[in-house]
Structures are given as structure tokens and as C-alpha cells.
């Protein structure tokens, strides 16, 4: 039988235990299941594998996939191949952390609680916000919950979202809003940037929040000058989805007046894992804390005055407030947040700055090299951080196929999300890409078509 090494009861144990319970057989313990719904056969599942067989099976599945270790990746669009220091897995691999539940009993959960408190502090430092939660599922759900929070705090029911916000996030956002009966309107883009004059026209007293992304989905740095004033003049809330790895270089969201900062934290040492688990970032100014979803760790003391940490402001949460809760979120991405905190601690202010600078320099170098090629054109003018859109002389799928022959994971095709952007690809260049790898990409592009 499978799984015996996880099931310590012996037949003799079971006999003794049934006797103590006072029943004759195991069947008696299931007699409360009416016979009409009792499964009258055994489950039809593949035969159990031994551990060595399971490893072989999983190895064979994994070996059918291409990945960042056997390919050079220029894919981005929210998930990136940044370098992940070894230290992270050694911390998140400590089973006192990863085999624990949500820290409901603070006196034996100080490890996780303090780690979350430190994570929250780091997210606040990066974004300039006053308070961060312990994480959301991913960037998409963080954007959606941020916009819901905007509605809750303004008691208005409409959000404006720029078309330059990740289409992956906008799909989640629109789904959340549609279900809840909230209104969503898109702010058009001009040259890849949010059209601020259109935004001004769309703002009105029904608008709860404006959702922008920095850098935006095309990798462009949006001009945030005056945006917050415009939004605040209409008593709406400015929500910004920020790439945390850009924040060492870019003006902090607090500095340009954002009220709520959300985003995808995958770049902070989190494996891409085919898109999950990721890390949803959620931070805000303190006046929004009562509407904030999810767990928050807070500082307190014990009877002797020792500092300790607990989950706090739980009256926002589902297990206390039930249908009046700020959100239904219960499980989050705590272990991923722990890993992100280790990343930020290891890199520190200097390392974070260097990573961001290398992304910026290498992306600029790559863009310049690619657009110097015949048939490849820059799509949007403007400043970029680590990714950019390029018009190519043919179909993105065909180009990616050719690149794959050289073990290069090329760019993301933009047409499925922006029908007007035919034959356009989004390339990302992280600090991990070497000049040699970039030049190899450029050589493959040269003379294609």
C-alpha cells in the first residue's frame, strides 16, 4: 500500500483504538455516511509509487520542460529571471518555518511573526508607505484587492485602470469587480504611456481609485508628476503597482503621492515556478489600514515587558468579522514573503541599488543593439527600466521558435493583449544576463527574415 511511511498506525494500534472507541470495525466509524452516497467501489487512481519511483516520474516530467537553467531567458511581463542567492532556500527550507500554520499562537510562533514584521518594514522602506500586510497571492490579486480597498475607503464604486497596467492583472481586477458589482473603466494609452489628459476627463465624483503601474507593462517609466494631485482633487485614491526591484532607482511611490502600493514581488528572490507561487505586495498609508486585507504582524509586549509580535487588527479579518471582513483572504504567501525578506536583507541598500542599475544598463544596451538591426524598431519612445517592446519583422512565435533552437527563451508576444501591437514583442533583461548572452540574442535576430 502507498504512503505507509507517512501513516504510523499499525494494525494492532487500530484494533486497540477501535476497542477504546467502542466500535467493532472501521466501517462503524463511517456508518453516518448514507449508503446512497457511499462510494461502492475503490477509487480508480494509478497504482502507488515508491519514493524512488515517484522521484523518477517527477524527474521525467521536469526533464520535458525548458527552464532558466538550460535556456537564456529574456521573458518578463511580470515574472523575471533574476539571480536568487543560495541563502534564501536555506532559510525557507528550515522546517520550523515551512511546516507551521498561520501564527495564531504567538508565544510559539515568534519566528514567523518577527520575520513578517521585518518583511512589512522592508516593504514600507521600499515603497515609502506606512504599513504593509503579510502578503497577497500575487500581483494580480494584489491589484484587485487594492482597488476593492479603494472603493471601501471612499465609499465609491468605480475604478479607473490604465491600459498600460499588466493585462494579466487587469483580467483579475475586472473579474473581481464584475463579481462584486463594481465598475471599471480603462484609461487609454498614448505612445505606451497612460494618457493623462484622458485620465483627467474620466475622473469624477464616482471614481474611487486610479490604478497605474510603474514601470508599466511595456517597461516604460510613467510620468507621475502631478498625477496624485489630479486624482486627489477628485477625492479619489491613487493605487500604484510597482516593481520592487525598480524602487532603488525610481522615485518612491510615497514621494509622488500614491496612497496604496501593490505589486508583484517575484523578483525578490522568488523562483518563477511557472507563474506560482508568487508574492503579492500590499502596502498603504496608515489611514487605509482598517480596509487593508490580510494578515498584519504587530509589535507588543508580554507581562514582563519583553518585546514580542502578534497578528494584529484582526477585526478586519474573515475569522472575526465574517461577512463584514475587509477580504476573505486567509492563507497568503507567507513563506514566499519570508524568502523575499531574506533577499532584501542579503542584498541590502547597496546590493538592491546595484541590481537595479545593472537591469537598467543592460536593458538599455540590449534595446540599443536590437533596434540598430534592420527591421527591428522601438515601439514606444520613453525611458525604460528593465524591459521594452520591439516591433519585429515577422511573427513572434516564429522568432521564438528560432531562438529556442539556440536555447534562448525570447520575448512575450503582445498581440494577444493589445491587438494593435501586431508583430511586437516584450523583452526583459535582468542583471543576470551577461553581455555575451545579450550579444548572442542580437546575433540570432540579425538577418532574421
Amino acid at each position: 500500500m502507498g504512503g505507509k511511511h507517512y501513516l504510523p498506525l499499525t494494525d494492532e494500534d487500530r484494533r486497540q483504538m477501535l476497542a477504546v472507541i467502542g466500535v467493532k470495525s472501521v466501517d462503524d466509524l463511517f456508518s453516518d455516511i448514507p449508503s446512497e452516497v457511499r462510494l461502492q467501489r475503490e477509487l480508480d487512481l494509478p497504482p502507488a509509487l515508491a519514493e524512488s519511483e515517484a522521484i523518477e516520474h517527477l524527474n521525467s516530467l521536469a526533464s520535458k520542460n525548458k527552464h532558466f537553467h538550460n535556456c537564456v531567458s529574456f521573458m518578463g511581463a511580470g515574472v523575471y529571471d533574476h539571480f536568487i542567492p543560495s541563502i534564501i532556500k536555506h532559510v525557507t527550507g528550515r522546517s520550523e518555518f515551512y511546516t507551521s500554520y498561520t501564527p495564531y499562537q504567538p508565544e510559539i510562533s515568534q519566528g514567523v511573526l518577527q520575520a513578517i514584521f521585518e518583511y512589512q518594514t522592508m516593504i514600507c522602506q521600499l515603497t515609502g508607505m506606512d504599513v504593509s500586510n503579510a502578503s497577497m497571492y500575487d500581483g494580480g490579486t494584489a491589484v484587485a484587492e487594492g482597488a476593492v480597498m479603494g472603493c471601501g475607503s471612499t465609499r465609491r464604486s468605480k475604478a479607473l485602470v490604465s491600459r498600460s497596467v499588466s493585462p494579466f492583472y487587469r483580467e483579475v481586477l475586472s473579474n473581481y469587480f464584475n463579481s462584486r458589482g463594481l465598475d471599471l473603466e480603462e484609461i487609454p494609452i498614448v505612445d505606451g504611456h497612460t494618457d493623462l489628459s484622458e485620465l483627467e476627463k474620466l475622473l469624477g465624483e464616482d471614481v474611487a481609485s486610479v490604478v497605474l503601474q510603474q514601470p508599466n507593462f511595456f517597461g516604460l517609466v510613467e510620468d507621475m508628476d502631478g498625477v496624485a494631485d489630479m486624482v486627489h482633487n477628485h477625492k479619489a485614491v491613487l493605487i500604484v503597482s510597482a516593481d520592487p526591484l525598480s524602487l532603488p532607482l525610481l522615485q518612491s511611490p510615497a514621494d509622488y503621492g500614491a496612497d496604496i502600493v501593490v505589486g508583484e514581488g517575484q523578483g525578490l528572490g522568488v523562483p518563477a515556478s511557472f507563474g506560482g507561487p508568487l508574492l503579492g505586495i500590499m502596502a498603504a498609508r496608515s489611514k487605509f489600514v482598517r480596509q487593508m486585507p490580510g494578515r498584519i504582524a504587530g509589535e507588543t509586549v508580554d507581562g514582563e515587558g519583553n518585546r514580542g509580535f502578534v497578528l494584529t487588527l484582526q477585526t478586519r479579518e474573515q475569522h472575526i468579522r465574517r461577512e463584514k471582513a475587509a477580504s476573505n483572504i486567509c492563507s497568503n504567501e507567507a513563506l514566499v514573503a519570508l524568502g523575499a525578506a531574506v533577499y532584501l536583507a542579503a542584498l541590502g541598500p547597496q546590493g538592491m541599488r546595484e541590481v537595479a542599475e545593472q537591469c537598467l544598463q543592460k536593458a538599455a544596451y540590449t534595446l540599443e543593439k536590437i533596434t540598430a538591426l534592420e527591421g527591428f524598431e522601438v515601439v514606444f519612445p520613453g525611458n525604460i527600466f528593465k524591459e521594452f517592446a520591439v516591433k519585429i519583422p515577422g511573427k513572434p512565435a516564429e522568432l521564438n521558435k528560432k531562438l529556442l533552437e539556440k536555447n534562448i527563451l525570447g520575448g512575450v508576444d503582445l498581440a494577444p493583449f493589445y491587438p494593435e501591437l501586431e508583430n511586437t514583442m516584450l523583452f526583459a533583461v535582468t542583471e543576470k544576463r551577461t553581455r555575451e548572452e545579450i550579444d548572442a540574442l542580437v546575433r540570432e535576430l540579425e538577418g532574421w527574415k
Binding site: 466500535v23 463511517f30 521585518e118
Partner: protein, 487 residues
Amino acid sequence: MRKSKALLFEMSRPGRQGYSLPSLDVPEKPLDELLPKKAQRNEPLGLPELSENEIIRHYTELSTRNFGVDTGFYPLGSCTMKYNPKVNEDVAVLPGFAFMHPCQPLETVQGALELLYNMEQGLKELTAMDRFTLQPAAGAHGELTGLMVIQAYHRHRGDHKRNKVLIPLSAHGTNPATVSMAGYEVVQIPSDDRGLVDLEALKEAVDETTAALMLTNPSTLGLFEEEIIPMAKAVHEAGGLLYYDGANLNAIMGYARPGDMGFDVVHLNIHKTFSTPHGGGGPGGGPVGVKERLIPFLPVPLVDKKKNQYYLDYDLPESIGKVHSFYGNFGVAVKAYTYMCMMGAEGLKQASTDAVINANYLMSLLKKTYLLPYDRICKHEFVLSARPQMKKGAGAGDIAKALLDRGFHPPTVYFPLIVEEALMVEPTDTEAKETLDAFAEVMGQIAKDIDQDAEKVAHGPYNTVVGRLDEVRAARNPVMRWEKKVD
């Protein structure tokens, strides 16, 4: 013995670093040329500066201040804190899983899609559902996805008056919170004196405004809802749908399937039933399965197979859309799939059998000293009441703290709400009889301690790294981040 642990920020020394990066190998341009001055950051980052070894010692010490399943018995009711097999952790970090980009061409992700496809087949067989999405990242996320699917189904039929979702009083807090998130109203259904959903009250509550009934079976009391067939009939006849909160599926694998009980939509908690670790709060996974007529409304993409090629199917015109940026917590699915492979049909059924034996055995031992409000055969968990102990001066929360002193993680306390001073105990399938015996003995000892000196018990714990923490103070004067002290 007791002491606080310094924060990373308090350990920081300017100039220390815990990383190394290769030097920039492309020609460097002046920063101002690449980024306009006004778009540049003005203030310092304020992150700690530490060497790698200091960071490791910090987190190693923190880990010793934390209790996990690998530390000891963790009978936290409703959370199914079973053992997390180590092989799962190893395979999930294989580069062919952990370092894949979600937008890679399909021909480069065939192994990943095959895994998701196989997993779906297994989940369908276990639950008698017709299709699954693995996109929801947690149980509550699955609940929301499920209600969105139900909502889309009703809306598609032009049935717009259904604005209520029925839930029993004993439901998990996520259920009513999810109902609100989906824009529905909550209607609470009381329990009868057996602890089961009051069928007559349910029949009275269903009408043409009922969108769905959300139900956990076995319930949060650990009791199987024996009248599930008439309940399903009542809801279906009124045009509503049945939603199964799969938090407790671990009790009935191989014995009964939600799809056979009349449920139209289920979510599963793969971090509970399928042994994936809970990570101190997450990541989890909340796959949602539906019956045939609801398939068109599932999130896109679904994983499918054509001529032995796996692909992502976006062609679902009535789909609710997406609930996650990509395909959900794939890395967690790898662990759950590995568990299913290793357990097989017999092993999964045995896991449910042992979970139920363990729960009934521990219940038999504990009901001698604690009040058992619903004294009948339970499934994977049971709920005691510490009301008699509370009258003496120490309640459920105090008993929990007393357990901390004796090396056990306490049961869930003060939930479900329908039991006063509730202690919700879920031993799981992966615990040995000796562990249950030891736990029962300690629980008996605590009851005696309360008889002798309730005051003392009410002020515990005594042997933990910090004493009982002041949660009221934390909420009244919230300090949610470290700030540099200004001298």
C-alpha cells in the same frame, strides 16, 4: 530564559553586505541619461546591512522560536496539520519545475502541463467532479472562484434575482467573507441539536433568490451531514446550486465523493488534504472542480490534451476570466501531485481511515475530562467545550497556553462559534497512538491544574520564549513596522 530577539534593522552596520554581483559588463551610461532626474529616487532605501552569516544566524534563531509539524503534535482543528513529506519539497525545486516562465512556448512546458493534467484527473476521480481549475491560490480564493462560477451560471441563464447564499452557522469565516466579496448576501442556517444543519430551517430559507448553499461536509464539528441528499434536493428544486468547501475532504477520501452527494462546485485545500506545507501562512492551493453544466464558466485557461500534446485552452467564451495572474500555485501543485502518486487509491483511503480512527480515539480519551457537546461518531475532528473549566477560571484560550508549556501545539480555540469555549481538535492521519495518548494525558493534567489553581493556568504560558503577549495593546496602539529611533 525569556528574551526578545533583535530585529535585522537593529543588527545592521553600515558597510556590511550579504551578496556579491558580477561587475557590469556592458558599457555604462550616465544614470541621468537613462532616467530623468525627477523620476529618480530621493531618499535612502533604509534596508539593513548585514553579512550572510549574520543573516543565517538571525533566521536560525527565529526558527527555534517557531513551532511546526516537524517540531511536534499540531492538532489545530480545521487546518489538517499532517506531516509534509520531504520528497515533495525535493521534487518541487527541480529546475524543470521551479525555473519555468509562465509565458514559455507550449512545446517547452509539456511536462508541467502533463503534471497539471494528471493531477486534474486524480482530483476528478476523488471528488466525482467533471473538470478542475488549479488557478486559485488558496482555499478562500477557491471559494471566491467557485461563487464567481455560480454567479456566471445564473447570470448566463438570465436568472438575476438570485442574490443570497446560504451558509450554516458552523461555517468557516472565509465562507461568509467570500459571499460578501462576490456581492451576495449571507443567509445563516442554524444547526439542530445533533450539531447538523437544520433541514427544516434550510427548506424554509431556500427560494428563488437562493444562488447557492455553501457547505462543509463533514462539518466544522467533524460531523457528517447525514441529510445531505434531502438538503441537496431542497436547494436544487429551488434552482440553487450546492457549493462544497473541501477543507474537510481528508476525512472521506475513498468513502464518499462530493459529486455523488449532489454538490455542483467544490474547492479543495491541497495544503491540507494533500500534505503540502502551510509555510507559516501560505502558499496554499485551492483547486475548484465543477459538474458538466458549469464547465463553460471556469477560469481560463484549462489544461487539455490533443493527440498527446498538452495545451492551454483559452477558448471558453463564457469563462469568468482569470483569478490569478497565471496558473495558480504550480509549485504547490507539484507537491500535492507527488503525494497523490505515492499514496495511490488505497493509501489515500487509508489516510482518511486513520484520520477518523485517530479523531474518534482521541475524542474517547478526552471526553472523560472535557465536555463533548455532540457525543457521536465523528470524522476527522471533534469539538470540545471548556465551559466547565471556564467556570472554574480558565477557559479554552488558557488551556491552549498551558499546552504550549508542555510541547504541544494547541487545538483551534473559540471556533466553531456554535460551541462555547470551543476546542477544535484534529489529530490527522500522520500521528501515532502514543502521541495521542501523551496529548490526552497532558490535557487531563491541565484539567486537574485548573481544578487546583485556575488562576495560575489563566496566566500561562510559563516556558515559552516570551510570556503571554498583550494582543489588546497591539491592536489599540498598532506598531506594524520598525522605525529608527531618533535620539
